[in-house]
Chain length 219, copies 2
């Protein structure tokens, strides 16, 4: 890599931009080519300058980073986007990654971490602040806890599980009966027996139960 990486700063705090600019310009391999104080501005500048990397804040006035992200990805497809934010919220992380961010660094992180994240991202890697990687994993690995609730569920008969799943998915007894080639009344029995065993009394709590235990997915 002979020439410097061209970086666009998008953050509404001028002080922070100034600080980062100083930091980056003191490095041999970075060059700040633009600064944006809002999502809109970031869009314009990104399109004009087609930088190698954008440091994007999530919370900006008007068009926030999360909303700007997908558009940026479209208008500057070869630009890597590194989220730089104060929110150590897993929700934001997920949304950002989903929208095509290449990395996620917290503002409270050290300079060195920022730089190494930037370099990793430019190398094509994905960088996530370690403390947040964990939350990502907790999301990914939830199959760890077979709670007492799951045991309860496993205690149901096959029919009961099948019917309750469909009930939780919003099907009426008639629809379920049709699908399983049973009488409506039969289905209602399974439903009642199953609900009783789970100690649930209405559809809403059943749905939450199913959601909690990941019994239902959109298939």
């Amino acid at each position: 890599m002979s020439s410097k990486s061209r970086v666009l700063l998008a953050d509404d705090h001028a002080v922070l931009r100034a600080g980062i600019r100083l930091l980056l310009n003191s490095q041999p391999d970075f060059n700040v080519v633009g600064e944006a104080a809002s999502g809109i501005e970031a869009l314009t500048l990104a399109e004009q300058t087609q930088p190698d990397l954008i440091l994007l804040d999530l919370s900006m006035p008007g068009l926030g980073g999360l909303d700007a992200l997908p558009v940026l990805r479209q208008r500057a497809p070869n630009t890597r986007i590194l989220i730089l934010t104060m929110h150590d919220d897993p929700q934001y992380l997920r949304k950002a990654l989903k929208s095509g961010a290449a990395g996620y660094v917290l503002k409270k992180a050290a300079d060195i971490e920022l730089l190494s994240a930037m370099r990793a991202v430019l190398r094509g890697e994905v960088y996530v602040h370690p403390s947040m990687t964990r939350s990502l994993l907790e999301d990914l690995i939830p199959q760890g806890e077979s709670s007492d609730e799951l045991d309860l569920w496993k205690g149901l008969s096959d029919r009961e599980q099948e019917v309750l799943r469909l009930v939780a998915l919003g099907y009426t007894s008639a629809e379920i009966a049709a699908r399983l080639n049973l009488s409506t009344k039969t289905v209602e029995t399974y439903r009642a027996r199953g609900m009783e065993k789970l100690g649930l009394s209405n559809r809403a709590s059943l749905v939450r139960f199913a959601l909690r235990n990941e019994l239902i997915t959109p298939d």
Copy 2:
């Protein structure tokens, strides 16, 4: 942290163990307290020495690292386990993390990376080699594109969204009315209008819609 971290090496390659031992002993904050050449040996030593950290290879003769992992977690609950392996296979990564590994480093990684991974893990963080983080994400973020539906959803009024969410969660109109301080009939209007806008005709399809677009969670 005044005293050194006690480390157990588990790898069947003596050369590699020797190299790592040299590396670690040259550091101010690590102290190798044992070496195991097999999964079984690792178990025994871990139980005896209760180290702060185990560097665990996945491919060892007899009891492999993946099999030893859960047992180690049980017999040495306060020990963090860092996988050190040559396999950059996402499958192994997932299994290892699922079984309670705190980190995953490739043997081809630089010394420095190993050290920083070890420190991160001891700090309680989760460390995954960045090139593998990406595969983790691809696993986690498969719900790539469905945004036309999301746009549809965003076109609903606030009340409509609120009501439909609750409907999808299985609440009856009466329950929703109570929660939102509205008349049952009003709620039913929102429900009908919203469903119409989404082109849905029954609760089941609404639930699947909500599931697909992650509109409902167990909160």
